[in-house]
Symmetry: C2
Subunit: 288 residues, 2 copies
């Protein structure tokens, strides 16, 4: 009986070995020559997940193929796509600087997991940069509850004194994960009292004025962005791109942010150009 | 009579000397201690022309003060402001990538000497990036004659087959100083036959497709922008900023482009990342 069982198990093992090797034998490939798995450097396109059998360049995007696994695994990409999307409200107003709001718009809309929309004081069109007429998706009164609020700059002067807007910002800050200002948009955070005890940055010409407006904050120059946790502020105009990429890196991981930067061909992004305020430093600004 | 004239002239000379030195004497400053002329590094704000008497940092913008003359002289700035402005037509369409058109919009609108406007197939609003609703300033039929045409990318597929648009691009190219494509916008130049015999670049995923569409051109990868003279093409999305700054540098001088880059806090700009095709290389693409 034992002999029968032993030979039966040998037979099963032999069958399994033949079955496992048959695809290789059919192609005359020995187990030592199992095809390589190469993937292109992440470019943000579908070819990021396409498997190639030898190094070279991707036929779709032209990026070099690298042996290994894809930068973002298929399952991770699927998980990201299915996960609940975060609402990103981009506040626009007459005189908003086009790149201030376009940079974060591009970053969040190009990354899976964000539902991005514009919001303004009313549903009336606004003029950006003197010639770009944008009709907002929502007004302050019907805007979906945001997880991330982006406050771009430009001619923010008339809006800093708008009580309805400042109240909306204060209210959003009670539940939003991130309040991100770009350029002079930091003035709106200051007016709402959200920079008190924080470190922050802004447009180079606005540093002193913002410091005077919010004496309980420490306003830094020559810093691409400053992350206090919920409150993230960036330097001027183009720095909004870097600040938004930093937020993506924090919420979605560095690989996802790098993929978005590569899609945007923004290899100029240097994650370490910003300042991430350590918990022990929070509140330190008040004592200085 | 001669003696009277001589002594009168001595008297006038003495009076002139006292008058000239009196401001210095009043401040107890000897002629050797004439105050320095310091100006801030150009930041794009009015303080660029403000004179300071000692080094340090500008009180307005915080930039370091440097001894010498302002980066752009007052007279040059006035001349630039008074010079005839160049018309910059930015073509926008449904599915246009927001940063593709926002980058050049920011650059040209932030630099003196450009009159920037959007143009589309009709005057109907378009949707950029899936959520930004922009109403164009002009349609193809009533658009002022452009000196510079910007063709951003994004979902350009449906527009490459639009005869009215391609004819408008061909017609504009008969008089425009610069035709600047960003990202997949190069496909529109290719369709109009404007890349034949030229070197060009485009979005990284579009390199091979563009090469197939325009076999008489040489399409380059890993190049931030390619300048053939009238035809300038850039790589993807964020590269439009660099391409537009290059056009400003060519038309208005490096100092003006640097000032705009500084205003935008785009110190990441590296003018030498692009390729300026030498006259001897023009047409070489056809022979390869």
């Amino acid at each position: 009986m034992n002999i029968i069982l032993r030979y039966t198990s040998y037979l099963f093992a032999a069958c399994w070995l033949i079955a496992a090797c048959s695809p290789l034998l059919a192609k005359n490939i020995s187990p030592r020559e199992i095809p390589m798995s190469c993937y292109c450097k992440p470019c943000g396109s579908d070819c990021d997940l396409e498997r190639h059998e030898k190094p070279g360049n991707c036929q779709d995007c032209g990026m070099p193929l690298i042996e290994g696994t894809p930068a973002l695994s298929d399952s991770l990409m699927r998980t990201e796509k299915q996960a609940k999307k975060r609402n990103v409200a981009i506040f626009i107003h007459n005189g908003v600087e086009i790149l201030d709001f376009a940079g974060p718009s591009e970053v969040f809309a190009s990354t899976d997991g964000f539902n991005v929309y514009t919001v303004s004081l009313s549903e009336e069109p606004i003029i950006s940069q003197g010639f770009i007429k944008v009709t907002p998706n929502y007004s302050l009164t019907d805007c979906p509850k945001p997880d991330i609020v982006v406050l771009p700059g430009g001619d923010t002067g008339p809006f800093i004194e708008n009580k309805q807007l400042i109240d909306w910002i204060k209210n959003a800050s009670t539940h939003a994960e991130v309040m991100l200002s770009v350029c002079t948009g930091a003035g709106l955070l200051a007016k709402a009292g959200l920079l008190d005890g924080k470190q922050a940055t802004t447009f180079h010409s606005y540093i002193k004025k913002l410091q005077r407006a919010t004496p309980k904050a420490k306003i830094l120059s020559d810093t691409r962005f400053v992350d206090n946790g919920q409150i993230v502020t960036t330097a001027g105009v183009s720095a909004g791109i870097d600040g938004a990429l930093h937020v993506v890196a924090r919420l979605k991981g560095q690989a996802m942010a790098t993929q978005t930067a590569r899609y945007m061909e923004y290899d100029k992004w240097k994650p370490d150009e910003g300042l991430i305020v350590k918990p022990s430093e929070k509140g330190a600004a008040e004592n200085k």
